[in-house]
Amino acid sequence: MESLLYLKADRCRACTHCMRACPTEAIRIRKGKALVMEHRCIQCGLCLMACPYQAWDVRTKTLDEIGKKERPVAVLDPTVLWQMGMGVGLEELNEAFLKIGFQEVHDWSEALGTYGRALEAYVGSPEAPRPAISSTCPVVIQLIQVKYASLLENLVPMVLPMHIAATAWEETYGEKKPEAKLYYIAPCLALASAVKDPLFSHPRYGGAFRFNSLFNRLKAQGRSKGQRMNPQASLLFRIEGVKWATAGQWSETLSFGKTLVVDGLRQVAAILDYVESGLLEEIHLIEAWSCPLGCLGGSFLTQNPHIARFHLKNFLRENHGILREKEAARTIESGCWKRYRFPQMPLPRPGIRLDEDMARAITKLKKIDAITKKLPGIDCGACGCPNCLALAEDIALGVAKESDCRCLKEKGRRRG
Protein backbone atom coordinates (compact mmCIF):
# COMPACT_ATOMS: atom_id res chain seq x y z
CA MET A 1 0.00 0.00 0.00
CA GLU A 2 1.49 3.33 -1.03
CA SER A 3 2.34 5.26 2.07
CA LEU A 4 1.23 8.79 2.74
CA LEU A 5 3.87 9.08 5.44
CA TYR A 6 6.89 11.28 4.79
CA LEU A 7 9.61 13.02 6.79
CA LYS A 8 10.05 16.77 7.09
CA ALA A 9 13.81 16.46 7.17
CA ASP A 10 14.51 19.90 8.59
CA ARG A 11 12.51 19.02 11.72
CA CYS A 12 14.13 15.64 12.30
CA ARG A 13 16.79 15.65 15.03
CA ALA A 14 17.58 11.93 14.97
CA CYS A 15 16.33 11.61 18.55
CA THR A 16 15.51 7.89 17.85
CA HIS A 17 12.06 8.02 19.49
CA CYS A 18 10.31 6.87 16.31
CA MET A 19 12.87 4.15 15.67
CA ARG A 20 12.22 2.64 19.09
CA ALA A 21 8.45 2.93 18.75
CA CYS A 22 8.26 1.02 15.47
CA PRO A 23 6.82 -2.47 16.05
CA THR A 24 8.36 -3.97 12.90
CA GLU A 25 11.77 -2.29 13.26
CA ALA A 26 11.20 -0.54 9.98
CA ILE A 27 12.97 2.72 10.86
CA ARG A 28 16.68 3.53 10.74
CA ILE A 29 18.62 6.73 11.32
CA ARG A 30 20.96 7.35 8.39
CA LYS A 31 23.02 10.48 7.84
CA GLY A 32 21.32 12.10 10.82
CA LYS A 33 17.74 11.62 9.57
CA ALA A 34 15.04 9.02 10.15
CA LEU A 35 14.14 6.83 7.24
CA VAL A 36 11.51 4.12 6.91
CA MET A 37 12.02 0.82 5.08
CA GLU A 38 8.71 0.60 3.27
CA HIS A 39 8.69 -3.17 2.92
CA ARG A 40 8.46 -3.46 6.70
CA CYS A 41 6.11 -0.54 7.35
CA ILE A 42 2.60 -1.52 8.40
CA GLN A 43 1.30 2.07 8.74
CA CYS A 44 0.45 1.82 12.40
CA GLY A 45 1.39 5.49 12.90
CA LEU A 46 3.34 4.88 16.13
CA CYS A 47 6.30 6.78 14.69
CA LEU A 48 4.10 9.80 14.06
CA MET A 49 2.81 9.71 17.60
CA ALA A 50 6.27 9.23 19.11
CA CYS A 51 7.96 12.15 17.39
CA PRO A 52 8.42 15.13 19.72
CA TYR A 53 9.26 17.48 16.82
CA GLN A 54 6.40 16.71 14.43
CA ALA A 55 8.90 15.65 11.83
CA TRP A 56 6.71 12.87 10.44
CA ASP A 57 3.86 14.15 8.32
CA VAL A 58 1.14 12.68 6.17
CA ARG A 59 0.12 13.58 2.62
CA THR A 60 -3.60 13.85 3.27
CA LYS A 61 -5.76 16.47 1.63
CA THR A 62 -6.34 20.04 2.76
CA LEU A 63 -9.48 22.03 2.07
CA ASP A 64 -7.59 24.65 0.08
CA GLU A 65 -6.55 22.01 -2.42
CA ILE A 66 -10.10 21.06 -3.29
CA GLY A 67 -11.69 23.17 -5.96
CA LYS A 68 -15.42 23.91 -5.74
CA LYS A 69 -15.91 22.27 -9.12
CA GLU A 70 -14.86 18.98 -7.58
CA ARG A 71 -18.00 18.79 -5.44
CA PRO A 72 -16.27 16.98 -2.58
CA VAL A 73 -18.45 14.49 -0.72
CA ALA A 74 -17.41 13.68 2.83
CA VAL A 75 -17.55 10.06 3.97
CA LEU A 76 -17.19 10.16 7.74
CA ASP A 77 -15.49 7.37 9.58
CA PRO A 78 -17.92 6.21 12.34
CA THR A 79 -15.49 7.47 14.98
CA VAL A 80 -16.07 11.06 13.86
CA LEU A 81 -19.47 11.19 15.55
CA TRP A 82 -17.81 10.94 18.95
CA GLN A 83 -15.16 13.60 18.54
CA MET A 84 -17.12 16.76 19.05
CA GLY A 85 -18.45 16.23 22.56
CA MET A 86 -22.03 15.42 23.51
CA GLY A 87 -23.31 18.91 22.88
CA VAL A 88 -23.07 18.48 19.14
CA GLY A 89 -25.93 16.73 17.40
CA LEU A 90 -25.88 14.77 14.18
CA GLU A 91 -27.54 17.47 12.08
CA GLU A 92 -25.11 20.03 13.46
CA LEU A 93 -22.14 17.87 12.54
CA ASN A 94 -23.58 17.41 9.09
CA GLU A 95 -24.05 21.16 8.73
CA ALA A 96 -20.58 21.97 9.98
CA PHE A 97 -19.05 19.83 7.23
CA LEU A 98 -21.15 21.60 4.64
CA LYS A 99 -20.14 24.98 6.00
CA ILE A 100 -16.43 24.26 5.78
CA GLY A 101 -16.56 23.39 2.11
CA PHE A 102 -17.96 19.93 1.49
CA GLN A 103 -20.80 19.63 -0.97
CA GLU A 104 -22.43 16.76 0.79
CA VAL A 105 -21.98 14.35 3.66
CA HIS A 106 -22.65 10.79 2.56
CA ASP A 107 -24.83 8.75 4.87
CA TRP A 108 -23.31 5.31 4.68
CA SER A 109 -24.83 3.65 7.69
CA GLU A 110 -26.65 1.34 5.29
CA ALA A 111 -23.33 0.28 3.76
CA LEU A 112 -21.91 -0.54 7.19
CA GLY A 113 -24.97 -2.62 7.91
CA THR A 114 -24.44 -4.42 4.61
CA TYR A 115 -20.81 -5.06 5.47
CA GLY A 116 -21.78 -6.46 8.87
CA ARG A 117 -24.30 -8.87 7.37
CA ALA A 118 -21.91 -9.95 4.63
CA LEU A 119 -19.22 -10.60 7.24
CA GLU A 120 -21.65 -12.64 9.31
CA ALA A 121 -22.64 -14.63 6.20
CA TYR A 122 -18.99 -15.33 5.40
CA VAL A 123 -18.01 -16.45 8.89
CA GLY A 124 -21.03 -18.72 9.01
CA SER A 125 -20.26 -20.28 5.61
CA PRO A 126 -18.48 -23.64 5.20
CA GLU A 127 -15.65 -21.98 3.22
CA ALA A 128 -14.60 -19.81 6.13
CA PRO A 129 -11.33 -20.81 7.83
CA ARG A 130 -11.20 -21.34 11.57
CA PRO A 131 -10.39 -18.90 12.96
CA ALA A 132 -11.25 -16.23 10.41
CA ILE A 133 -9.39 -12.96 11.01
CA SER A 134 -11.18 -9.64 10.46
CA SER A 135 -9.87 -7.48 7.63
CA THR A 136 -11.28 -4.11 8.62
CA CYS A 137 -8.02 -2.82 10.08
CA PRO A 138 -5.44 -2.26 7.32
CA VAL A 139 -2.63 -2.32 9.90
CA VAL A 140 -3.58 -5.86 10.91
CA ILE A 141 -3.68 -6.91 7.27
CA GLN A 142 -0.23 -5.46 6.68
CA LEU A 143 1.15 -6.96 9.90
CA ILE A 144 0.04 -10.32 8.55
CA GLN A 145 1.59 -9.60 5.14
CA VAL A 146 4.92 -8.69 6.74
CA LYS A 147 5.21 -11.08 9.72
CA TYR A 148 2.47 -13.70 9.57
CA ALA A 149 2.17 -14.55 5.89
CA SER A 150 0.91 -18.06 6.64
CA LEU A 151 -2.24 -16.43 8.05
CA LEU A 152 -3.18 -14.56 4.88
CA GLU A 153 -5.54 -17.42 4.10
CA ASN A 154 -7.36 -16.76 7.40
CA LEU A 155 -8.23 -13.19 6.52
CA VAL A 156 -11.86 -12.45 5.73
CA PRO A 157 -11.52 -11.89 1.96
CA MET A 158 -13.73 -8.81 1.81
CA VAL A 159 -12.98 -5.23 0.78
CA LEU A 160 -13.01 -2.49 3.38
CA PRO A 161 -16.35 -0.96 4.45
CA MET A 162 -15.23 2.31 2.80
CA HIS A 163 -15.36 0.51 -0.52
CA ILE A 164 -18.94 -0.56 0.05
CA ALA A 165 -19.82 3.02 1.00
CA ALA A 166 -18.46 4.20 -2.34
CA THR A 167 -20.27 1.46 -4.28
CA ALA A 168 -23.53 2.44 -2.62
CA TRP A 169 -22.96 6.12 -3.42
CA GLU A 170 -22.03 5.27 -7.00
CA GLU A 171 -25.22 3.26 -7.47
CA THR A 172 -27.40 6.16 -6.31
CA TYR A 173 -25.55 9.23 -7.54
CA GLY A 174 -22.80 8.08 -9.85
CA GLU A 175 -24.43 9.08 -13.10
CA LYS A 176 -26.03 12.28 -11.85
CA LYS A 177 -22.81 13.63 -10.34
CA PRO A 178 -19.95 12.57 -12.57
CA GLU A 179 -17.43 15.16 -11.30
CA ALA A 180 -18.07 14.56 -7.63
CA LYS A 181 -15.33 12.87 -5.65
CA LEU A 182 -15.55 11.11 -2.33
CA TYR A 183 -13.19 12.00 0.50
CA TYR A 184 -12.76 9.81 3.53
CA ILE A 185 -12.52 11.62 6.87
CA ALA A 186 -9.96 9.30 8.38
CA PRO A 187 -9.10 8.47 11.99
CA CYS A 188 -5.65 7.08 11.20
CA LEU A 189 -2.76 6.76 8.77
CA ALA A 190 -3.66 3.27 7.60
CA LEU A 191 -7.24 4.09 6.61
CA ALA A 192 -6.14 7.34 4.99
CA SER A 193 -3.61 5.40 2.87
CA ALA A 194 -6.10 2.60 2.12
CA VAL A 195 -8.40 5.06 0.36
CA LYS A 196 -6.24 5.06 -2.75
CA ASP A 197 -5.30 1.40 -2.71
CA PRO A 198 -7.08 -0.63 -5.41
CA LEU A 199 -7.11 -3.75 -3.26
CA PHE A 200 -9.23 -2.18 -0.55
CA SER A 201 -10.90 0.87 -1.90
CA HIS A 202 -12.85 2.37 -4.79
CA PRO A 203 -11.76 4.65 -7.65
CA ARG A 204 -14.40 7.23 -6.80
CA TYR A 205 -12.33 8.37 -3.81
CA GLY A 206 -10.27 11.49 -4.41
CA GLY A 207 -8.31 10.98 -1.21
CA ALA A 208 -8.57 11.32 2.55
CA PHE A 209 -8.59 14.03 5.18
CA ARG A 210 -7.12 13.70 8.64
CA PHE A 211 -9.98 14.35 11.03
CA ASN A 212 -7.77 16.45 13.31
CA SER A 213 -6.88 18.77 10.42
CA LEU A 214 -10.57 19.72 10.15
CA PHE A 215 -11.42 19.79 13.84
CA ASN A 216 -10.76 23.43 14.62
CA ARG A 217 -12.70 24.64 11.61
CA LEU A 218 -15.61 22.35 12.39
CA LYS A 219 -15.73 23.55 15.98
CA ALA A 220 -15.66 27.16 14.83
CA GLN A 221 -18.95 26.71 12.98
CA GLY A 222 -20.74 27.25 16.23
CA ARG A 223 -22.83 24.97 18.35
CA SER A 224 -26.21 25.13 20.01
CA LYS A 225 -26.00 23.99 23.61
CA GLY A 226 -27.79 20.91 24.76
CA GLN A 227 -28.69 19.41 21.42
CA ARG A 228 -28.26 15.68 21.80
CA MET A 229 -27.57 13.12 19.13
CA ASN A 230 -30.85 12.57 17.36
CA PRO A 231 -31.11 8.95 16.36
CA GLN A 232 -33.70 9.75 13.73
CA ALA A 233 -31.42 12.13 11.87
CA SER A 234 -30.23 10.76 8.57
CA LEU A 235 -26.51 10.81 9.20
CA LEU A 236 -25.20 7.48 10.50
CA PHE A 237 -28.20 7.10 12.74
CA ARG A 238 -28.43 3.45 12.10
CA ILE A 239 -26.89 1.53 14.93
CA GLU A 240 -24.69 -0.64 12.72
CA GLY A 241 -22.71 2.40 11.70
CA VAL A 242 -22.20 3.58 15.23
CA LYS A 243 -20.96 0.23 16.47
CA TRP A 244 -17.97 0.05 14.14
CA ALA A 245 -16.22 2.89 15.90
CA THR A 246 -14.94 0.78 18.74
CA ALA A 247 -13.64 -2.76 19.25
CA GLY A 248 -16.03 -5.52 20.18
CA GLN A 249 -19.35 -3.66 19.95
CA TRP A 250 -20.25 -5.02 16.59
CA SER A 251 -19.30 -8.66 17.17
CA GLU A 252 -21.34 -8.82 20.38
CA THR A 253 -24.45 -9.02 18.26
CA LEU A 254 -23.37 -11.76 15.91
CA SER A 255 -25.42 -14.92 15.80
CA PHE A 256 -22.57 -17.42 15.97
CA GLY A 257 -21.09 -16.15 19.18
CA LYS A 258 -17.50 -17.32 19.25
CA THR A 259 -15.57 -14.13 18.61
CA LEU A 260 -12.28 -13.13 20.19
CA VAL A 261 -11.78 -9.37 20.30
CA VAL A 262 -8.21 -8.06 20.52
CA ASP A 263 -6.92 -4.50 20.35
CA GLY A 264 -3.43 -3.05 20.52
CA LEU A 265 -0.75 -4.20 18.14
CA ARG A 266 1.37 -6.24 20.56
CA GLN A 267 -1.73 -8.07 21.74
CA VAL A 268 -2.79 -8.73 18.16
CA ALA A 269 0.66 -10.17 17.42
CA ALA A 270 0.46 -12.45 20.47
CA ILE A 271 -2.89 -13.84 19.28
CA LEU A 272 -1.61 -14.29 15.73
CA ASP A 273 1.33 -16.27 17.14
CA TYR A 274 -1.12 -18.70 18.72
CA VAL A 275 -3.13 -19.07 15.53
CA GLU A 276 0.05 -19.76 13.58
CA SER A 277 0.88 -22.59 15.99
CA GLY A 278 -2.44 -24.28 15.36
CA LEU A 279 -4.36 -22.93 18.33
CA LEU A 280 -7.70 -21.10 18.63
CA GLU A 281 -9.35 -23.26 15.96
CA GLU A 282 -12.59 -23.35 17.97
CA ILE A 283 -12.93 -19.59 17.46
CA HIS A 284 -15.07 -18.43 14.55
CA LEU A 285 -13.75 -14.90 14.20
CA ILE A 286 -10.87 -12.89 15.58
CA GLU A 287 -11.84 -9.23 15.56
CA ALA A 288 -8.45 -7.52 15.55
CA TRP A 289 -7.58 -3.82 15.81
CA SER A 290 -4.18 -2.16 15.89
CA CYS A 291 -5.32 0.82 18.00
CA PRO A 292 -6.41 0.58 21.65
CA LEU A 293 -10.23 0.43 21.83
CA GLY A 294 -10.35 -0.03 18.05
CA CYS A 295 -10.69 2.93 15.68
CA LEU A 296 -11.55 5.33 18.52
CA GLY A 297 -7.86 5.07 19.39
CA GLY A 298 -6.82 6.32 15.94
CA SER A 299 -4.05 8.92 15.90
CA PHE A 300 -5.92 11.45 13.73
CA LEU A 301 -8.74 11.79 16.22
CA THR A 302 -9.04 14.50 18.85
CA GLN A 303 -11.20 13.06 21.61
CA ASN A 304 -9.80 10.82 24.33
CA PRO A 305 -10.78 7.29 23.20
CA HIS A 306 -12.22 6.26 26.58
CA ILE A 307 -14.38 9.36 26.77
CA ALA A 308 -15.55 8.84 23.20
CA ARG A 309 -16.39 5.23 24.01
CA PHE A 310 -18.28 6.29 27.12
CA HIS A 311 -20.54 8.52 25.00
CA LEU A 312 -20.95 5.84 22.36
CA LYS A 313 -22.01 3.24 24.90
CA ASN A 314 -24.48 5.63 26.50
CA PHE A 315 -25.97 6.25 23.10
CA LEU A 316 -26.32 2.53 22.47
CA ARG A 317 -27.90 2.02 25.87
CA GLU A 318 -30.38 4.87 25.35
CA ASN A 319 -31.35 3.51 21.96
CA HIS A 320 -31.47 -0.09 23.00
CA GLY A 321 -35.05 -0.44 21.76
CA ILE A 322 -34.33 0.73 18.23
CA LEU A 323 -31.27 -1.52 18.18
CA ARG A 324 -33.31 -4.57 19.07
CA GLU A 325 -35.87 -3.75 16.39
CA LYS A 326 -33.21 -3.40 13.73
CA GLU A 327 -31.59 -6.65 14.67
CA ALA A 328 -34.84 -8.56 14.70
CA ALA A 329 -35.63 -7.29 11.21
CA ARG A 330 -32.22 -8.21 9.86
CA THR A 331 -31.93 -10.99 7.31
CA ILE A 332 -28.70 -12.61 6.33
CA GLU A 333 -28.54 -14.07 2.88
CA SER A 334 -25.88 -16.73 2.73
CA GLY A 335 -23.44 -16.04 -0.07
CA CYS A 336 -24.12 -12.28 -0.04
CA TRP A 337 -20.51 -11.73 1.00
CA LYS A 338 -19.26 -12.84 -2.42
CA ARG A 339 -20.24 -9.48 -3.93
CA TYR A 340 -17.61 -7.82 -1.75
CA ARG A 341 -14.70 -10.15 -2.25
CA PHE A 342 -11.17 -8.74 -2.53
CA PRO A 343 -10.26 -8.29 -6.22
CA GLN A 344 -7.26 -10.45 -5.29
CA MET A 345 -5.85 -11.72 -2.03
CA PRO A 346 -3.22 -9.58 -0.33
CA LEU A 347 0.22 -11.03 -1.02
CA PRO A 348 3.04 -11.65 1.44
CA ARG A 349 5.63 -8.87 1.66
CA PRO A 350 9.32 -9.71 1.89
CA GLY A 351 9.18 -8.17 5.38
CA ILE A 352 11.72 -9.78 7.67
CA ARG A 353 13.04 -12.24 5.10
CA LEU A 354 16.83 -12.07 4.76
CA ASP A 355 17.05 -13.26 1.17
CA GLU A 356 14.90 -14.70 -1.58
CA ASP A 357 17.22 -17.67 -1.87
CA MET A 358 17.25 -19.83 1.24
CA ALA A 359 20.85 -20.98 0.94
CA ARG A 360 21.98 -17.35 0.89
CA ALA A 361 19.59 -16.55 3.73
CA ILE A 362 21.19 -19.29 5.84
CA THR A 363 24.66 -17.87 5.13
CA LYS A 364 23.46 -14.43 6.20
CA LEU A 365 21.88 -15.81 9.36
CA LYS A 366 25.16 -17.48 10.33
CA LYS A 367 26.97 -14.20 9.70
CA ILE A 368 24.41 -12.34 11.83
CA ASP A 369 24.90 -14.80 14.69
CA ALA A 370 28.67 -14.30 14.51
CA ILE A 371 28.44 -10.49 14.43
CA THR A 372 25.89 -10.43 17.25
CA LYS A 373 28.41 -12.07 19.56
CA LYS A 374 30.80 -9.14 19.01
CA LEU A 375 28.22 -6.42 19.66
CA PRO A 376 27.58 -5.18 23.22
CA GLY A 377 23.86 -6.09 23.28
CA ILE A 378 22.72 -2.90 25.02
CA ASP A 379 20.48 -1.73 22.15
CA CYS A 380 21.46 1.92 22.61
CA GLY A 381 20.34 2.98 19.11
CA ALA A 382 23.39 5.20 18.52
CA CYS A 383 24.25 3.26 15.35
CA GLY A 384 20.90 4.18 13.86
CA CYS A 385 19.37 0.74 14.32
CA PRO A 386 16.69 -0.04 16.93
CA ASN A 387 18.76 -2.81 18.57
CA CYS A 388 22.03 -4.72 18.24
CA LEU A 389 20.43 -7.61 16.39
CA ALA A 390 19.11 -5.19 13.77
CA LEU A 391 22.61 -3.72 13.33
CA ALA A 392 24.05 -7.22 12.95
CA GLU A 393 21.43 -7.88 10.30
CA ASP A 394 22.11 -4.63 8.47
CA ILE A 395 25.84 -5.43 8.48
CA ALA A 396 25.17 -8.90 7.06
CA LEU A 397 22.94 -7.32 4.41
CA GLY A 398 25.69 -4.88 3.53
CA VAL A 399 23.89 -1.68 4.49
CA ALA A 400 25.82 -0.93 7.67
CA LYS A 401 29.36 -1.37 9.02
CA GLU A 402 30.76 -2.66 12.31
CA SER A 403 32.31 0.75 12.78
CA ASP A 404 28.77 2.18 13.10
CA CYS A 405 28.70 0.74 16.61
CA ARG A 406 29.83 3.51 18.98
CA CYS A 407 30.51 1.04 21.78
CA LEU A 408 32.91 -1.03 19.69
CA LYS A 409 34.58 2.14 18.48
CA GLU A 410 34.98 3.38 22.05
CA LYS A 411 36.41 0.04 23.17
CA GLY A 412 38.84 0.09 20.25
CA ARG A 413 39.92 3.65 21.09
CA ARG A 414 40.56 2.78 24.73
CA ARG A 415 42.62 -0.26 23.83
CA GLY A 416 44.67 1.60 21.25
Binding site: L151, S277, P348, R353, L354, M358, A361
Partner: protein, 140 residues
Protein backbone atom coordinates in the same frame (compact mmCIF):
# COMPACT_ATOMS: atom_id res chain seq x y z
CA UNK B 1 21.73 -24.80 9.47
CA UNK B 2 21.26 -26.20 12.98
CA UNK B 3 19.25 -24.66 15.80
CA UNK B 4 18.99 -25.74 19.40
CA UNK B 5 16.33 -24.91 21.98
CA UNK B 6 15.99 -25.95 25.60
CA UNK B 7 12.58 -26.93 26.96
CA UNK B 8 11.91 -26.78 30.69
CA UNK B 9 9.59 -29.50 31.88
CA UNK B 10 6.60 -28.39 33.99
CA UNK B 11 7.24 -24.71 33.19
CA UNK B 12 3.85 -23.80 31.80
CA UNK B 13 4.43 -20.09 31.56
CA UNK B 14 7.25 -20.68 29.10
CA UNK B 15 5.43 -23.31 27.06
CA UNK B 16 5.69 -22.34 23.41
CA UNK B 17 8.83 -20.20 23.65
CA UNK B 18 10.99 -22.69 21.81
CA UNK B 19 8.57 -23.17 18.92
CA UNK B 20 7.86 -19.43 18.68
CA UNK B 21 11.62 -18.79 18.58
CA UNK B 22 11.99 -21.43 15.86
CA UNK B 23 9.20 -19.77 13.89
CA UNK B 24 11.03 -16.46 13.95
CA UNK B 25 14.16 -18.02 12.47
CA UNK B 26 12.13 -19.72 9.74
CA UNK B 27 10.48 -16.42 8.81
CA UNK B 28 13.82 -14.68 8.56
CA UNK B 29 15.10 -17.48 6.36
CA UNK B 30 12.19 -17.04 4.00
CA UNK B 31 10.81 -20.54 4.43
CA UNK B 32 7.48 -20.69 2.53
CA UNK B 33 4.60 -19.66 4.84
CA UNK B 34 2.60 -22.90 4.57
CA UNK B 35 5.71 -24.85 5.62
CA UNK B 36 6.24 -22.47 8.53
CA UNK B 37 2.72 -23.05 9.72
CA UNK B 38 3.06 -26.83 9.62
CA UNK B 39 6.44 -26.85 11.35
CA UNK B 40 5.22 -24.31 13.93
CA UNK B 41 2.14 -26.38 14.74
CA UNK B 42 4.06 -29.66 15.03
CA UNK B 43 6.88 -28.07 17.04
CA UNK B 44 4.43 -26.41 19.40
CA UNK B 45 2.61 -29.66 20.10
CA UNK B 46 5.90 -31.47 20.64
CA UNK B 47 7.12 -28.76 23.00
CA UNK B 48 3.91 -28.78 25.03
CA UNK B 49 4.21 -32.56 25.44
CA UNK B 50 7.64 -32.11 27.00
CA UNK B 51 6.36 -29.37 29.31
CA UNK B 52 3.32 -31.36 30.40
CA UNK B 53 4.90 -34.75 30.95
CA UNK B 54 8.70 -34.56 31.16
CA UNK B 55 11.40 -33.11 33.39
CA UNK B 56 13.38 -31.45 30.64
CA UNK B 57 13.99 -31.64 26.93
CA UNK B 58 15.76 -30.32 23.83
CA UNK B 59 14.47 -29.30 20.45
CA UNK B 60 17.08 -29.63 17.71
CA UNK B 61 16.25 -28.34 14.27
CA UNK B 62 18.15 -28.98 11.04
CA UNK B 63 17.24 -26.78 8.12
CA UNK B 64 18.40 -28.36 4.91
CA UNK B 65 17.84 -27.54 1.28
CA UNK B 66 15.08 -30.13 0.88
CA UNK B 67 13.45 -30.24 4.28
CA UNK B 68 13.32 -29.22 7.90
CA UNK B 69 13.99 -31.91 10.46
CA UNK B 70 13.07 -31.53 14.11
CA UNK B 71 14.14 -33.79 16.94
CA UNK B 72 12.58 -33.38 20.36
CA UNK B 73 14.24 -35.45 23.03
CA UNK B 74 13.25 -35.50 26.68
CA UNK B 75 14.06 -36.99 30.06
CA UNK B 76 10.84 -38.12 31.60
CA UNK B 77 8.33 -40.91 32.22
CA UNK B 78 8.29 -42.06 28.60
CA UNK B 79 5.29 -43.45 26.74
CA UNK B 80 3.93 -46.81 27.73
CA UNK B 81 1.88 -47.60 24.64
CA UNK B 82 2.79 -45.59 21.55
CA UNK B 83 -0.08 -46.86 19.44
CA UNK B 84 -2.58 -45.78 22.06
CA UNK B 85 -0.87 -42.42 22.46
CA UNK B 86 -1.28 -41.81 18.70
CA UNK B 87 -5.05 -42.24 18.90
CA UNK B 88 -7.11 -39.08 18.59
CA UNK B 89 -8.63 -38.10 21.90
CA UNK B 90 -6.43 -40.36 24.02
CA UNK B 91 -4.62 -38.48 26.77
CA UNK B 92 -2.88 -39.22 30.04
CA UNK B 93 -2.92 -35.58 31.09
CA UNK B 94 -3.84 -35.05 34.75
CA UNK B 95 -6.85 -32.82 35.65
CA UNK B 96 -4.79 -29.74 36.58
CA UNK B 97 -3.21 -29.79 33.14
CA UNK B 98 -6.55 -30.18 31.37
CA UNK B 99 -7.82 -27.18 33.32
CA UNK B 100 -5.07 -25.13 31.71
CA UNK B 101 -6.35 -26.04 28.30
CA UNK B 102 -3.84 -28.74 27.45
CA UNK B 103 -4.41 -32.48 27.20
CA UNK B 104 -6.96 -32.59 24.39
CA UNK B 105 -5.49 -35.87 23.18
CA UNK B 106 -4.79 -34.34 19.75
CA UNK B 107 -1.10 -33.46 20.11
CA UNK B 108 0.53 -36.50 18.52
CA UNK B 109 -2.15 -36.93 15.84
CA UNK B 110 -1.71 -33.21 15.00
CA UNK B 111 2.02 -33.70 14.60
CA UNK B 112 1.42 -36.63 12.28
CA UNK B 113 -1.08 -34.66 10.23
CA UNK B 114 1.23 -31.70 9.76
CA UNK B 115 4.41 -33.53 8.89
CA UNK B 116 5.67 -35.68 6.04
CA UNK B 117 7.48 -38.18 8.26
CA UNK B 118 7.37 -38.90 11.95
CA UNK B 119 9.20 -41.26 14.26
CA UNK B 120 8.36 -41.75 17.92
CA UNK B 121 10.43 -43.88 20.29
CA UNK B 122 10.32 -44.14 24.03
CA UNK B 123 11.72 -46.00 27.03
CA UNK B 124 9.47 -46.03 30.09
CA UNK B 125 11.01 -44.17 33.05
CA UNK B 126 13.78 -42.83 30.85
CA UNK B 127 12.39 -40.57 28.17
CA UNK B 128 11.03 -40.03 24.69
CA UNK B 129 12.50 -39.06 21.34
CA UNK B 130 10.27 -37.63 18.66
CA UNK B 131 11.54 -36.84 15.17
CA UNK B 132 9.65 -35.34 12.30
CA UNK B 133 10.33 -33.90 8.87
CA UNK B 134 8.55 -31.42 6.67
CA UNK B 135 9.62 -31.30 3.02
CA UNK B 136 9.79 -28.13 0.99
CA UNK B 137 8.87 -29.44 -2.44
CA UNK B 138 5.43 -30.94 -2.23
CA UNK B 139 4.68 -33.80 -4.60
CA UNK B 140 1.39 -33.11 -6.40
Amino acid sequence: MKLDFEINGQDFKKAGEASFGLKNYLKRLGVPPPIIRRVATAAYEAEVNVVVYAQKGHMRVTIGEQCIEVTVEDIGPGIDNIELAMQEGFTTAPPHVKQMGFGSGMGLPNIKRNTDWMDLRSVVNKGTTLRFKVHFAQET
